[in-house]
């Protein structure tokens, strides 16, 4: 509760600063939107050459992409850990964070938030809705509940993986280039996994479970019976990975060597 109220305070301050630079704010919206549109065009181009991707129709693939945007955008809005190494380790801002009475990870998350990325949730819903006009889906009363649980699970998976990666900076002060690679791998989760080689399928399910962020939950919502058991695992996988991430972070804080003076 305390963290939530504090988050709102940080959010208020963040909005004040952002609104002071109006055009920058608008530009951010436009680039985010364009970025998502390009991804969509890519899917449309692929289906211009074929009307079937290993058993998946164009509308289904677009639906999965639309769904993927939702947990992805929430993740980006809350866990913007891109320049953690540069800002907190090299410039030493973590020292300041550690002298304040709030959990260090919570503070870092609050200081790096980019709530404007939440626009992606709306884009995602629109894309899903558009795809659904071509699909004959029946939603039961409990599907929205699953939808929310899947989304939270997906956010937790992303958060867990990226918190773990970010924590590497706490152990070593050398820069690692693993984050951008991971962002790319994360994108594999928004296409049906059975179009990939079996090894990649295994990795995306159990090692870097990005398939749980987009594909598995979306295919449950598409009433594909053969994937639904995976879909139900989403919240659990999310909890496990987030737990691992926070644990590695906490160990990292104990190893933190401080910025040189």
């Amino acid at each position: 509760m305390f963290h939530l109220r504090l988050y709102m305070e940080y959010l208020k301050q963040y909005m004040k600063v952002r609104l002071a630079y109006r055009w920058d704010f608008v530009a951010q919206f436009v680039t985010d939107f364009l970025f998502q549109a390009i991804n969509l065009v890519f899917i449309l181009v692929v289906f211009g050459h074929t009307n079937n991707l290993n058993g998946w129709s164009q509308a289904e693939v677009i639906f999965i992409y639309g769904y993927f945007l939702i947990p992805w955008s929430i993740f980006v809005a809350f866990f913007n850990l891109w320049d953690f190494n540069e800002r907190y380790i090299i410039r030493g801002e973590l020292d300041r964070v550690l002298t304040r009475p709030v959990h260090s990870l919570v503070q870092v998350i609050m200081e790096t938030m980019t709530p404007e990325s939440l626009i992606g949730v709306i884009t995602g819903l629109i894309v899903m809705g558009w795809a659904m006009t071509d699909l004959n889906l029946t939603w039961t009363w409990y599907d929205p509940i699953w939808f929310i649980l899947f989304t939270l699970g997906g956010v937790a998976i992303y958060a867990g993986i990226f918190i773990s990666l970010t924590s590497i900076s706490l152990f070593t002060d050398s820069k690692s280039d693993i984050q951008p690679i991971m962002y790319n791998i994360g994108n594999y989760g928004r296409y049906p996994v059975n179009i990939y080689h079996r090894v990649i399928q295994f990795v995306l399910t159990w090692i870097l479970p990005f398939a749980f962020v987009g594909f598995y939950p979306a295919s449950y919502l598409l009433d594909k019976a053969n994937w639904q058991w995976y879909a139900f695992l989403t919240p659990i996988v999310g909890m496990v990975f987030l737990g691992i991430g926070v644990m590695i972070w906490n160990v990292g804080i104990r190893h933190y060597r401080g910025a040189g003076n």
């Binding site: 301050q13 030493g92 550690l98 009475p101």
Partner: protein, 334 residues
């Protein structure tokens, strides 16, 4: 209760050693060599509540590392540490509510937002009740004279203005212990004096314990009755400033200028029983080196009556000179 109680406090760092050349770089890839450095080497510090203590040392002496352990940023490698009754690293979140920290070279405030908004965020972070916050902040604004700065973003403030706001920010939650790391670096004399005055006031008014690290010895002279001196990770002096001057000050220098020429023998004869050493610059100018600082009056009583002294100057080694001497020559008295 002791504000700071450290026993055999030690911090070691593993440093990665790279071999020279491209071949060396390849060998490093396969087999890394590490060297252990003791940044802080078994130091003992006891500081009573309400003390103002100066913590000095050259760059790389282990000052920052000590401060980072005392503030909970770093975990000690070994030794016992209690600050305000807490284990700083293990009980970090509870502990840091009882301390205030000002790092001169790094801002504690949010760069882009107005000063008062930074204060408000800190109020929420430290969970200070509204009533108490308003009252205490009002007092801070008054003594630090920052009323006019409150609606400015931090990035627009001058260094001196910013430092006064930093001080207010670090004291909002009424910490019992305040860590100051180079608080007057880059400030002009007037601002320095204001800040020192403020620190004296809060120490007296609120009983705040203050640990000050600085390169500027005049800060310490103005504020601290006690200094702890660190060299190569070890404490080489812990005691009062006056004691430091007395032991390592190397006595005093008295410069005399006479109205007429006087022989060195004459002077030496008159002061034969005093521990004084004479040096002549010209037949009319002499320097007397006294081993003990308190020998000045004895010396003068021998001379003034029938010596035609025209001008006289008593010189004392400044603390800065003393400290420099200690670092250059090591510890003269073990």
């Amino acid at each position: 209760m002791l504000a700071i109680d450290a026993k055999e406090l030690t911090k070691e760092f593993k440093v990665y050693q790279s071999r020279p050349g491209l071949l060396g770089a390849f060998r490093d890839l396969l087999n890394r060599q590490y060297r252990t450095i003791r940044a802080v080497d078994g130091i003992n510090i006891e500081i009573e509540a309400g003390e103002m203590v100066g913590y000095i040392g050259e760059n790389g002496a282990g000052k920052s590392t000590t401060i980072k352990m005392l503030t909970g940023i770093l975990q000690p490698t070994s030794g016992e540490l209690k600050v305000n009754g807490f284990d700083p690293h293990k009980q970090r979140e509870q502990f840091v509510k009882t301390i205030g920290v000002v790092f001169g070279q790094r801002s504690q405030l949010w760069w882009d937002i107005a000063v008062q908004e930074s204060f408000r965020l800190l109020q929420k972070v430290y969970q200070i009740p509204d009533q108490e916050y308003k009252q205490h902040l009002g007092r801070m604004i008054e003594i630090l004279e920052i009323e006019k700065l409150l609606d400015q973003p931090v990035r627009k403030l001058s260094l001196g203005q910013r430092m006064r706001c930093e001080l207010a920010a670090s004291l909002l939650h009424k910490p019992k212990l305040l860590f100051l790391d180079e608080p007057t670096i880059g400030l002009d004399v007037l601002v320095k004096e204001n800040i020192r005055q403020f620190l004296r006031e809060i120490n007296k008014e609120l009983g705040t314990t203050i640990l000050l690290t600085t390169h500027d010895i005049s800060d310490i002279e103005a504020l601290c009755s006690r200094v702890i001196m660190l060299d190569k990770g070890k404490i080489i002096y812990d005691g009062s400033l006056t004691q430091l001057k007395k032991v390592w000050g190397g006595g005093r220098k008295v410069l005399l200028e006479m109205e007429k020429e006087i022989s060195l023998d004459e002077l030496q004869k008159r002061t034969a029983d005093l521990s004084v050493h004479w040096e002549s610059r010209s037949p009319r100018q002499y320097i007397a080196y006294l081993e003990q600082g308190d020998g000045v009056s004895d010396l003068l009583s021998r001379l003034v009556q029938d010596m035609p002294i025209m001008e006289m100057q008593i010189e004392e080694a400044t603390t800065e000179e003393i400290v420099r001497k200690i670092y250059q020559e090591g510890i003269p008295v073990a």
